[in-house]
């Protein structure tokens, strides 16, 4: 039941998952964002999703693995097991799987035009959403959206609007993988990155912070540390880093995240006691 509300969209962050270049998980990201360790970039390593049946697991590509790994970490961080049911999900990504897109376009430019059926169904933007629901045997609503470089902010808006409407937790998974050449030259990315937030309208023991969002027109916040700023500016899902930094430091404050060309998302963060 949805009623018109005038309150600011918001929720508690109950669980976090992060995976990126040289960032193995949320504790590793938090240590980096708190300045407790130097940044040492390394290729992003996403494990094959153990929750999927073997046949499905073999069909997953790097993008699906990245999204599922971050989402599963957020569940575990929130103290939910992977058997948790009826958890709505929002998948936010600038584009689908770049390697699959390259393979399909290459095949279509060749005389034979042979496309693998599995590659084709894995090319949909909601592939990670589909595999997530299969892996978790969860029939809850799931969406997959894009707002180019602002996909994280668009996903956060949708996830907060959903949890506000349903009164139930929503898992946001933002993720991006880079393209192979020649698409990489047209859409360069600084590697692969995923950030997942389990957002709960209700407060709970162990919640990290409360978020409230509003639209803004000010410039987005860069990060003062050059390597982290390169990551933030270089991968759409890493546009979440200013928010993750406030959460990791248990600071109150406002993170201004990139959204659309003329809009930013202002996220007010208050740490939970």
């Amino acid at each position: 039941m949805i009623e018109r509300e005038t309150m600011t969209p918001g929720a508690y962050v109950r669980g976090i998952g992060v995976l990126g270049p040289g960032i193995a998980d949320w504790p590793s990201a938090a240590a980096l964002l708190k300045g407790e360790r130097p940044y040492a970039p390394a290729p992003t390593e996403a494990p094959p999703p153990a929750a999927l049946p073997a046949a499905e697991r073999r069909r997953t590509g790097a993008t699906v693995r990245l999204a599922l790994a971050a989402g599963l970490e957020a569940l575990a961080d929130a103290g939910l097991d992977a058997g948790a049911r009826a958890l709505a999900t929002v998948f936010a990504s600038s584009s689908g799987d770049g390697a699959i897109c390259h393979e399909i376009c290459s095949a279509l430019a060749s005389p034979e035009r042979q496309i693998s059926p599995t590659r084709f169904h894995n090319s949909v933007h909601n592939a990670a959403s589909g595999y997530w629901s299969i892996a978790l045997r969860d029939m809850a609503p799931s969406t997959a959206l894009s707002a180019y470089d602002g996909s994280f902010a668009a996903g956060l808006i949708e996830a907060l609007a959903q949890s506000g409407a349903s009164g139930a937790p929503v898992l946001l998974i933002a993720y991006d993988t880079d393209y192979p050449e020649p698409l990489r030259a047209k859409r360069p990315m600084a590697g692969s990155f995923a950030a997942a937030l389990l957002l709960d309208p209700r407060s709970s023991a162990g919640a990290h912070a409360r978020l409230e969002v509003r639209l803004a027109r000010d410039a987005a916040d860069p990060l003062p540390e050059a390597p982290l700023e390169a990551l933030r500016a270089g991968i759409p899902a890493a546009r979440s880093l200013p928010l993750l930094k406030l959460i990791s430091r248990r600071d109150s404050g406002c993170a201004l995240l990139d959204y659309l060309e003329d809009l930013r998302l202002a996220v007010n963060v208050s740490p939970c006691p």
Partner: protein, 402 residues
């Protein structure tokens, strides 16, 4: 939910540009499917092509967005005074208070396919290829938001063939969250080789025009289309006859990436939620516009799901025999067809279906039926097991004021 009014809406597909041509084609039982001669495709299948897209000119300030998908979007926005209606709404509410939520499955993919054919000897794509303005899924949202001079929140939902049904749900939520006061929702998907060859590789494409719910159905006919609606809270101008969105339901099959659950369990969940959201019992739905793709597995799973909830009496049909399967545009296109059904009392019969599969126990319409309906349901299901159902109603009395 509190109903939202579709104060303006429009659709363009293989059966016509705008509501007038679409309604005339539905009334005449005229389909838009023809043997595939699209681009360089060599496939024995029929497609639902929108004629004249090559002649559409994207205005100079938006030149970098020029591609088949955005020409189709622009052509559709120009029908039925839709763009003008949005501009009037923006003048009233403020352009920052109107959201843009659109669905597509392949966005401007055709441009990328062509660019790959014109790679330089070193493999580089042509300089003219503009990734952000054509290929990226959000290119559609960016283009439409600019074309309508809107300044509110925007996103493109891309969940395969449920995409532009789910945008209605997303718009309801953004309005409930207080972020917007109105939304342009819709879907645009255009022909490209990826879907033509991809669905062929999956052996899901019909040889002739698709025959949803026919005993001899053998797959889909891919179509292209664009449909838009302006969603607003009901006000003094939305009296009897206004078409309203009163419910939506979303679910996941959690079963397989490209095959539906055989009993349509996910579809049932989406339909049940849509009814609950609208506060209706199954018996109050007077027509269902089926997803009805024409593949053996979709139609049998959907038939079981519909029968489990509604029984066998409610009139149902798929309009994909007329328009083809417009993929990411299908949800919005069929929502607009439902609006026409409500407004004109026309339940459109499904085309090309001559012998309804007796194993599918539904009242499938093979011819038009005149009936003054007030409550209808539209189904959209996609790869990845993504399901969405919408309930649309026609107001029959003065709305109660809040």
């Amino acid at each position: 939910m509190k109903p939202l009014a579709l104060t303006h809406y429009t659709a363009t597909s293989a059966i016509g540009r705008g509501l007038g041509e679409t309604l005339a084609a539905l009334r005449a039982g005229r389909g838009g499917l023809a043997p595939c001669t699209f681009e360089t495709a060599v496939l024995e299948t029929c497609i639902g092509e929108v004629p004249g897209l090559d002649a559409v000119r994207v205005p100079a300030p938006l030149a970098r967005f020029d591609c088949r998908n955005h020409r189709l979007a622009l052509l559709a926005l120009e029908q039925d005074g839709f763009g003008e209606a949005v501009r009037r709404c923006a003048a009233r509410l403020g352009p920052a208070r109107i959201g843009v939520l659109l669905g597509t499955s392949t966005s401007g993919m055709l441009e990328t396919e062509l660019a790959y054919r014109h790679r330089a000897p070193d493999g580089a794509l042509p300089a003219s290829f503009d990734y952000a303005a054509t290929h990226n899924p959000y290119a559609l949202g960016d283009f439409v938001r600019r074309a309508l001079a809107l300044e509110g929140p925007a996103a493109v939902i891309s969940t395969a063939c449920s995409s532009s049904a789910k945008v209605f749900a997303a718009a309801v939520r953004l309005m409930a969250a207080g972020l917007i006061d109105a939304a342009v929702v819709g879907g645009v998907d255009s022909l490209c080789l990826t879907t033509l060859y991809g669905f062929s590789a999956l052996q899901l494409v019909a040889r002739g025009p698709c025959r949803p719910f026919d005993l001899a159905r053998d797959g889909i006919s891919i179509g292209e289309g664009a449909a838009f609606a302006l969603l607003e809270r009901p006000g003094p101008d939305t009296g009897p006859g206004t078409i309203t969105l009163t419910g939506f339901g979303e679910s996941s099959d959690a079963y397989h990436m490209s095959s539906p659950h055989p009993d349509g369990l996910g579809a049932q969940a989406a339909m049940r939620q849509a009814l609950a959201c609208a506060g209706l019992e199954p018996g109050q739905i007077e027509y269902i516009n089926l997803h009805g793709t024409g593949t053996p597995s979709n139609d049998s799973a959907e038939a079981r799901a519909v029968a489990a909830l509604f029984g066998a009496a409610v009139p149902v049909s798929s309009t994909k025999g007329a328009t083809g399967h417009t993929l990411g545009a299908a949800g919005a296109l069929e929502a607009v067809i439902c609006a026409l059904a409500l407004r004109h009392g026309l339940l459109p019969g499904g085309l090309n279906t001559t012998a309804v599969d007796p194993g599918l126990e539904l009242a499938y319409l093979t011819g038009n039926r005149a009936a003054p309906v007030t409550r209808v349901l539209s189904n959209s299901f996609g790869f990845g097991g993504s399901n969405c159902s919408l309930v649309l109603e026609r107001r029959t009395e003065e709305p109660a004021h809040d």
